[in-house]
């Protein structure tokens, strides 16, 4: 008779019989030698997780395929080997289960970091996120804090099939109690993930999939030291000027930032100076930085991959117009995904905000009175 208890689930092997008190405090393997030089966005996230787990034994990473495989995007590569199956482990394939278990673990002294394998695969966990993760601190008047980080590989541009490319930020941003971050640079990928893990409130951490392979020349050891010495300004709640300019402001976040930067570079060749704001932190939103830029330039285009109707981009447009009306020389415009389900790989380039579409929209910002 076949042994029906044969399974390929890793954590059960050690956890049921392993030394319980030793799991969080056991010896760790030495960290690998640091990469100094070109670092990918994915590697920066991986280093942030490892450094956070090294710094705080209550940080525990789990999700689907995050153990031996290291995650389908390899963001958790090597964590199980280094920290053991108590600290980075595979769960059964059930997103609500992952999220609900994270709530309970956070109630009992753990700082869970969970991976939702793909944006659209996070939807089974939606009830746990909106009814419990987001509300528990409020329901208990702050007596129960939930320092959970929900990592979501998100958005498109990688030729993924359906249900692998959604820009789901509006669902989370619309839910009071969730902090929603979307880094766009390799440096921010590291620093913002470290901040998110140290944050007292739950964070939805949106990782633009198409940027996983982007590179910057960085010294990860230096980034670690800077973060751990708390000498850098916090990123949560703060947008940055990614490129300075004078004629119009492009507001973007996550995967749209490099597109906005490329548009600004192309515009410069045509003699138009565009400022690019990298929002970084969708919630809390930095009205101050965005409005300071728009008041200076007098024109703005908000860029995002998500369908524009009832979106974060729509909210940003409204906020700019409420606050900067008298500084505006033209209506604030949006370049977003169309209001259609995310398209198939061969159609996605028609859907995604492009440099040309951004430049065309900038051209329409009533530079001269229209007939």
């Amino acid at each position: 008779m076949t042994d029906t208890t044969e399974r390929v689930i890793d954590p059960g092997t050690e956890l049921p019989d392993g030394p319980p008190a030793g799991v969080l405090n056991g010896p760790e393997r030495a960290a690998e030698a640091r990469t100094v030089g070109p670092v990918t966005f994915a590697k920066a996230l991986n280093a942030a997780l490892a450094d956070a787990m090294e710094a705080d034994s209550s940080v525990v990473m789990f999700g689907e395929d995050v153990g031996a495989l290291g995650g389908v995007f390899r963001i958790t590569d090597g964590l199980t080997a280094r920290f053991g199956t108590g600290r980075c482990f595979d769960t059964p394939l059930a997103e609500a289960g992952i999220m609900g278990m994270a709530v309970g673990m956070a109630m009992n002294g753990i700082r869970p970091v969970v991976e939702m394998q793909f944006d659209a695969f996070a939807y089974p966990a939606f009830e746990q996120v909106v009814s419990h993760v987001a509300k528990m601190p409020n329901r208990t008047k702050g007596k129960v804090k939930l320092p959970i980080v929900i990592r979501i590989p998100y958005a498109g541009g990688i030729g993924g099939v359906e249900h692998h490319c959604d820009s789901s930020e509006s669902y989370y941003a619309h839910t009071p109690g969730l902090t929603v971050l979307a880094p766009a640079t390799v440096r921010d990928a590291y620093t913002m993930l470290r901040e998110a893990i140290s944050y007292p409130d739950p964070v939805v951490f949106l990782e633009p999939k198409k940027l996983y392979w982007s590179k910057e020349v960085l010294d990860l050891a230096e980034l670690k030291e800077t973060f751990e010495a708390s000498t850098a300004a916090p990123s949560i709640g703060r947008a940055v000027v990614a490129r300075a300019g004078t004629d119009a402001t492009l507001v973007a976040y996550g995967p749209s930032v490099p597109t906005a930067m490329a548009a600004a570079a192309a515009a410069a060749e045509e003699g138009r100076s565009l400022e690019v704001i990298d929002v970084r932190s969708i919630v809390p939103f930095d009205d101050e930085t965005v409005c300071a830029s728009v008041r200076k330039t007098g024109r703005a285009v908000v860029i995002a991959e998500a369908p524009g109707f009832a979106s974060v981009a729509a909210e940003i447009v409204a906020r700019i117009q409420e606050r900067c009306f008298h500084s505006l020389a033209a209506p604030v415009r949006r370049v977003t995904g169309f209001d259609v389900p995310y398209p198939s790989p061969k159609l996605e380039h028609f859907f995604l905000p492009s440099v040309d579409r951004i430049l065309d929209t900038v051209d329409e910002l009533q530079w001269e009175d229209q007939a």
């Binding site: 954590p11 278990m101 419990h132």
Partner: protein, 387 residues
Amino acid sequence: MTISTGTNRAPGTARTSDQQESAEAAMLPSATPVQLVDPNGVHTPNESYPLPDGESLLAAYHKLVVGRRINDQANALVRQGRMAVYPSSHGQEACQVAAAVVLDHQDWLFPTYRDTVAVITRGVDPMEVLTLLRGDWHSGYDPLEHKVATQATPLATQLLHAVGVAHAAKLRGEDTVVLALCGDGATSEGDFHEALNFAAVFHVPVVFLIQNNEYAISVPLKSQTVAPSLAHKAIGYGMPGERVDGNDLAALLSVLGKAVTRARAGGGPTLVEAHTYRMQAHTNADDPSRYRSQDDVEKWIPKDPLSRMRTYLRDLAVLDDDGETRIAAAAEEMAATLRDGLNTDPVVNPEDLFNYVFTEKTSQLREQADLLRGELSREQSSEEVTP
């Protein structure tokens, strides 16, 4: 790789088909619900479950009588408009009391909205518990102080939190057992399945107690499932299931006590189904005459958890007239506490709307708090000038 299924079998050891069958049989519930004291108050011996001693039963019976009084008083206070709503556990008090008393101080209880009596029995201040139902905040007590989670109004979601607390306790090397409550309707939810599966795979110290009161608002159990029993679902997850007479306090204490002991010893999770009955409406907003007959309800009156335990304890000579007087006085004292507490209007602070959304208010929330504060201060000054 092999994982333990809670049978403490060495990983990798091959199993014969006989062993397989007996391991499977051990996960199946008994043929009928475990009963130790029948509705007439007579002990019915059971070789798997010992009868708790008289003193333990008397202490639990005391809580049972107080629990009934909480239900009755709370219902009255809803009728008087002192409370927004009260989902009564009238008829289910044995489950409520047993769930609370089988736990030690370091253990956790995960209640639903119908489990107010269990939470109070666990020792949480009754007025803090009734905050939710009075409507002045969502949860009035500190879950971490009492190791009692917030009362869940979504169904089955709290079972996963219970698994998480238990898993964290295990990682941290704590001696903690978690008892999670849900109803029969909640067993249809996806989170019920995910919680039981996670609990079994991670082999965590959780006891799941289903109070099968036969109705999910208006929908009877037969429309939720055609499984032989809810306890049979356990074997599908590789954990033992048991069913128990949910109106028999002695049987509940014995069955749950065994499951808690097993969890504490590293034996993993257990699913317990308690057969009971919701004697009253779902809430005061419900009209049960639309979906069940009074005759059906009355069939359960002789099975009441209080009367059989009273008879048993009187026959055992553990309970006498003095004892009954003392217990009745304690119940009246609890009722008076509820009346006094609810007859004063709660003071709510509108600023609290903004105070607990994030650890630090965002600039947007500060603006909105300013807006509300301005409105209130204008209202107040116009009241002051208007005679």
